[in-house]
Symmetry: none
Subunit: 412 residues, 2 copies
Amino acid sequence: MKRAAIVSIGNEILGGQTIDTNAAYLSKELLVLGLPVLSCYTVGDETDRIVRALNLAGMDADIVVATGGLGPTDDDVTRQAFAKFMGVELKIQEDLLRKVQDFFAQRNLQMPGKNRIQACIPVGAKALPNNRGTAPGIMAEADGKLFVALPGVPSEMKQMFGESVLPQLQQVASSQSVVVRKLRCYGVGESTIAEMLGELMQRGRNPLINCTVHFGVITLHIIATAENQVQAERMAKEGENLLKETFGDLIYGTAEQTLAEVVGLRLAHQQASVAIAESCTGGLLSKLLTDAPGASEYFTHGWVTYGNIAKIGELGVPEDLIERCGAVSEQVATAMAQGARSRAGADYAIGITGIAGPTGGTEQKPVGLVYICVDSKEESEVQCCRFSGDRDSIRRRAAQSALNMLRLRIKD
Amino acid sequence: MKRAAIVSIGNEILGGQTIDTNAAYLSKELLVLGLPVLSCYTVGDETDRIVRALNLAGMDADIVVATGGLGPTDDDVTRQAFAKFMGVELKIQEDLLRKVQDFFAQRNLQMPGKNRIQACIPVGAKALPNNRGTAPGIMAEADGKLFVALPGVPSEMKQMFGESVLPQLQQVASSQSVVVRKLRCYGVGESTIAEMLGELMQRGRNPLINCTVHFGVITLHIIATAENQVQAERMAKEGENLLKETFGDLIYGTAEQTLAEVVGLRLAHQQASVAIAESCTGGLLSKLLTDAPGASEYFTHGWVTYGNIAKIGELGVPEDLIERCGAVSEQVATAMAQGARSRAGADYAIGITGIAGPTGGTEQKPVGLVYICVDSKEESEVQCCRFSGDRDSIRRRAAQSALNMLRLRIKD
């Protein structure tokens, strides 16, 4: 089986100012290709340190992927380090220069002189196009091994990896096939999931089941390894079916689907619409719903009624209801949802009101208390939730839980 | 100046299931102690790979901090690797065994046999107490250098680092003091900033200036090194002042401040309020503004008018204006802001309309085109922006640019 290694480059990583998410992304992608990562070397923006890391990584692996240090400023020296490592010169490529110039021209900007360096590539290496920025990547062979340099900006790195590196790697990857499938759950904690999984989660099993958690969303990773792709696919599929039986409705989707996407798909499928009235989440729920392109098909109206005046004036929440029950109450969540649904003429509406903290909590209504109402013609359902964590976690959990309630309401 | 190196241990890191936040945490802590991290080696749970990484790290640095692989299960081999690296045996320590037994006894649990290994320490090394879990850390000297092993669980790692490692390191650290300050800019690209910095950014300078970028926000890092803390503080302050002179209004804040926080502070200071009407950003702008606790002081009303009906019905945008100019236009952005300001009775209002993509663009109105209006009693200012990148980047840049326009309008 062939192996990969990663070289992460950047003073901002070594200084701890930036958390290296690129390495994790690449590790996952490479693993799925059947190219497990054996090591990762993190170094600063210094030519000799980068060359040393490339040498060490080349001892470990058949494929070395480096990220970072391709920008236009003086502290970006990955290009120079690749040339030194390969024992060649850097040479300007006219077609690359034109691309960088075009990038600025399209934005009605003059290309700063510093960006010229981004059109330079080590002699004998190949430039990888960058459709999101000015820094092309580098791909080179040395000692029969493949060395790749990608930008450090995650969106540029991902796009370049997917378009220019991945197809090349599929050819070099080993004969062992690895298939990874992911299922996503929402509604219970990680330890409950682990208990339900029982011995399915034991290491050494094939498919291997891993479980990670992120703001209440639990991702089950099913990693099947086999002699060939078909067999690995079959094993992964079997694992997937077993988990679907075990977890039922707790599973909301596959792969990288978000709760908002799944809700969007169900709404679009039913040609139904949803309106949103948010207080403590402050726009986050609408934001999540509109992360998906095409959300205008099922979402037209959202309100961020952060103050009581807005709740009363924009959604028609009765003033005396707020006085009697408090703005954070089952009754006000319901009135918000009903008001939003009626004003928007929507099929469903969500109302959220709560205390995101860190201040504003009382003994009766502590920080983390959130009321969520999902309203439709048929019924108004309210959940009283109590989330822990900081302001950001509470808001995220509240928005996710609202989406999950809506998902369960509009089952396929 | 003494140097540090980090060894991150764990298959879950190399597999990309876990993002290594420990390395960033330790890098920051070590840098502030005057022990800059020169390299980080990430390896899986394999004794020989860990030993090799410890050797490599020992070549780079005077202090090597390893994390991970101290758990009780068979895949945790950091203890064994430390013993092998030191050329000694592992030996059980009775006092450690009692502590692990007590940990379980306090929870009314029987200690599983596997946990016995956690009471083993390489001969000649020192155990570091773990008050949050069962895995003690390890501290050892080899070749006059300090090697430390900490647990991989971030909360245990941080606690052990702070209590048992930090005091020791303060003694080993060089007499040099390091002070890091950060300034944040918005409004121009990274290469423009670099050109404006000119030779200030040259490596080897003291204070050293680094620059990182994240969705249009540019962070300038000022790293001053001096004989003592007072001197380093003074140099960092001078660097900060120089950058403030150079960049003026482009700098919006210090340290970890977001644009939304700075806008919030200015609004609160002026006892002014803002209303928000969003189309393409779909709630993101309101969400950013309400990330800050206490936002209700200056924000009560937000609208996500994602459909034309909502723009007309909720904000009073004239229907024929939309027909004549299109929903994505200077005129509609202005009408949205004016409608929001009037309905909310706010001092300022922001209206945003644009095409976030990936579909919906035309030749006249391409993906990435966004109109932002900041309206107040005195004037309506509209900017026509053209953002590149994917849907998420376009939305983030649009929201940030809107906040920046408002910031410049309500200068302190």
